[in-house]
């Protein structure tokens, strides 16, 4: 550690110590402040997470510029080379997949926040404060849910500009966005799980690159499953990212892979199958990941 001058700053000396004591010593009336409840604490931590995003240029571009780039890239550069089986506009096919991918990456965001908290010792700082149980994880969850929906909103608008439309009913469209919220919520617990096991920002980035990213590509996110070779096709058919993409296409009334008689149940019922995954992840992962995380920070 480097030697530091000016412990109390340039204006210290003459009475500075007394003035500090004046504002910092326990007064006769300073009772500890009563708890304001878990919602308050969650929101304080969440606000911090949002400020973090604002201050990290790369995270901010992940959430704003990148989704626009993705839509434009796939719509105009790759789009021409990809056929949607059963016809239909690729740009419209694309939107469901690209939204699904963004939602999946919520888990990455959560794991990154947790890893950065460890690195900066925010974990200890929080643990020394009288915070409601679960408020720190809750705050990360809320911040990352909000973070997930900024790009979704931006992509929706970009999509509208390049010709994507919601062609189904309003009820179905609402169900589509609801499905995204629910899936993002489930992804948070995957993120906490990841952040409990992989403890450095670099490690999280590595996992995202070797596991999360490929997983979003072995799916119907950008190309129809039918175009994939045998074994990959089977994985893709049961990959919940495929069914999330397909479910969104179905609910928004966009072109989708037409279902045939021999299709697996997942492909034939993408909405139901995706909800099953969401419920499964939340029921299994949420309690497990919270326990693992709490154990990982108690040293």
């Amino acid at each position: 550690m480097s030697t530091t001058t000016d412990a109390l700053g340039p204006t210290s000396g003459n009475g500075a110590a007394a003035r500090i004591a004046e504002v910092a010593a326990p007064g006769p009336t300073t009772d500890p402040h009563p708890p304001r409840g878990v919602v308050h604490d969650v929101w304080v931590v969440a606000r911090r997470g949002l400020v973090h995003m604002k201050r990290q240029p790369e995270a901010l571009s992940d959430a704003t510029i990148q989704p626009i780039m993705f839509v434009l890239l796939f719509a105009y550069v790759f789009g021409g080379a990809i056929d949607v089986p059963g016809g239909g506009n690729y740009r419209e096919f694309l939107m469901g997949g690209i939204m699904a991918q963004t939602i999946v990456f919520t888990s990455f965001g959560v794991a990154m926040s947790l890893a950065n908290d460890r690195k900066n010792q925010a974990v200890d700082r929080f643990r020394s404060l009288p915070i409601a149980k679960g408020a720190v994880l809750g705050g990360h969850a809320v911040a990352n849910l909000i973070k997930a929906f900024l790009p979704i909103a931006i992509m929706s608008v970009t999509g509208l500009i390049v010709g994507w439309r919601i062609r189904g009913s309003v009820v179905d469209a609402v169900a589509g966005y609801l499905l995204m919220v629910a899936f993002a919520f489930a992804m948070i617990w995957i993120g906490v799980l990841l952040g409990s096991v992989v403890r450095t920002p670099e490690g999280v980035q590595g996992i995202a690159f070797v596991a999360l990213f490929p997983l979003t590509f072995v799916a119907s996110t950008f190309v129809p499953v039918a175009s994939m070779p045998g074994p990959l096709q089977v994985i893709a058919e049961w990959n919940p990212i495929t069914t999330l993409s397909d479910a969104l296409r179905e609910l928004f009334g966009n072109p989708n892979t037409p279902t045939a008689a021999g299709d697996p149940w997942s492909i034939a019922n993408p909405v139901a199958y995706t909800w099953l995954w969401i419920i499964g992840i939340v029921v299994v992962c949420a309690p497990l990941s919270v326990r693992l995380y709490n154990r990982s920070i108690a040293r």
Binding site: D6, I20, H33, L129
Partner: protein, 326 residues
């Protein structure tokens, strides 16, 4: 608070795998007093602080802080304490102001009260100009100040400072000491850790000396110094032919066999008489007509304390290794 003891810990044991970081430590700090935990790197100081501040669970033993059991009522403890960890833990992406407001809010202050406290503290710690800059751009000293301000947001009854002056220059250290004096004068209980006997002596009512997870000595500075042979009188001579004469003189004044360092032309011996002892030596030297380049009274260093208490030197290499691993 009604309890006479702000901190009361009994038989604290903490193991990390095969390594025992704390091997049964008792600490009692009366309300409104200062206790210094003195020890070299790797002694277990941070581990003890972490247990007392609810950051770590002890494997054995009990601890009460501000009247509440750290294990059973951690949040009651947290509401009443402030902790400055060994490395400043301010949020690098938030501004100084945002850091303090957030900590105030998490201390359950209302948002407006937290903002008021933040402004007040930034002013007293001379951070007003930097208030709206993110702390990643702060100097080490500014970060330390903000960290200290953060620990004071909720006017804590019990303050824990883990090596607060390591790395500070003497002036900054003196200023911090002055602040701590005043805080304690107004009722704050303080537990600090340090590697400097001088700091412990300057601030603490009680000193706990710890080594390899065990308490090897405790008491007020005076009794502790008596145990380690008090201060040292050092004589540096202008030329070395009178070294033996000076050594004999020092021995007769202090009653201790001095250590002679020929290349440095110094003789050193412990004294329990402080300045009076120094004056006696000065007189004797003048009478004997021995020309002296330097004559000093200084406190033993931690190394010397440990040599006396444990009969062995601090193993700096091993500790450096451990630091790198932790």
């Amino acid at each position: 608070m009604t309890s006479a003891l702000a901190i009361e810990a009994h038989g604290l044991v903490k193991r990390y795998g095969p390594k025992t970081a704390l091997a049964g430590v008792d600490i009692e700090v009366p309300t409104g007093t200062v206790t210094a935990v003195l020890g070299p790197n790797g002694a277990g100081k941070t581990t003890a602080v972490r247990i007392l501040t609810t950051l770590a669970d002890a494997d054995e033993g009990t601890a009460t802080v501000a009247g509440f059991d750290v294990r059973r009522h951690p949040n009651e403890v947290r509401r009443r304490i402030g902790l400055a960890a060994q490395d400043a833990t301010v949020d690098p992406l938030l501004t100084g102001y945002e850091n303090l407001v957030m900590i105030g809010e998490l201390h359950q202050l209302s948002r407006s009260e937290a903002k008021r406290r933040a402004r007040e503290l930034l002013e007293q710690f001379s951070l007003v100009d930097a208030a709206d800059r993110v702390t990643s751009g702060y100097s080490g000293g500014m970060r330390r100040r903000l960290d200290l301000a953060a620990t004071l947001v909720a006017r804590p009854q019990v303050l824990f400072l883990d090596e607060p002056t390591t790395g500070l220059d003497p002036r900054a250290r003196n200023e911090l000491w002055e602040v701590l004096d005043t805080l304690v004068g107004r009722g704050t209980t303080l537990l600090l850790t340090t590697q400097y006997l001088e700091e412990a002596d300057r601030l603490a009512d009680d000193i706990v000396v710890i080594d390899r997870g065990k308490i090897i000595a405790r008491g007020d500075a005076r009794s502790l110094k008596r145990q380690v042979g008090g201060d040292n009188i050092g004589i540096t001579l202008a030329d070395d032919d009178l070294l033996e004469a000076a050594a004999g003189l020092l021995a007769s004044c202090t009653g201790h066999e001095p250590v002679v360092d020929r290349p440095l032309r110094t003789v050193t011996a412990p004294t329990t008489d402080g300045v009076a002892g120094l004056a006696a030596v000065a007189n004797a030297l003048a009478e004997a007509g021995i020309r002296v380049e330097d004559l000093s009274l200084r406190q033993p260093t931690l190394d010397e304390v440990f040599l006396t208490l444990t009969g062995q030197a601090i193993d700096h290499d091993e500790n450096a290794l451990e630091e790198a691993h932790s």
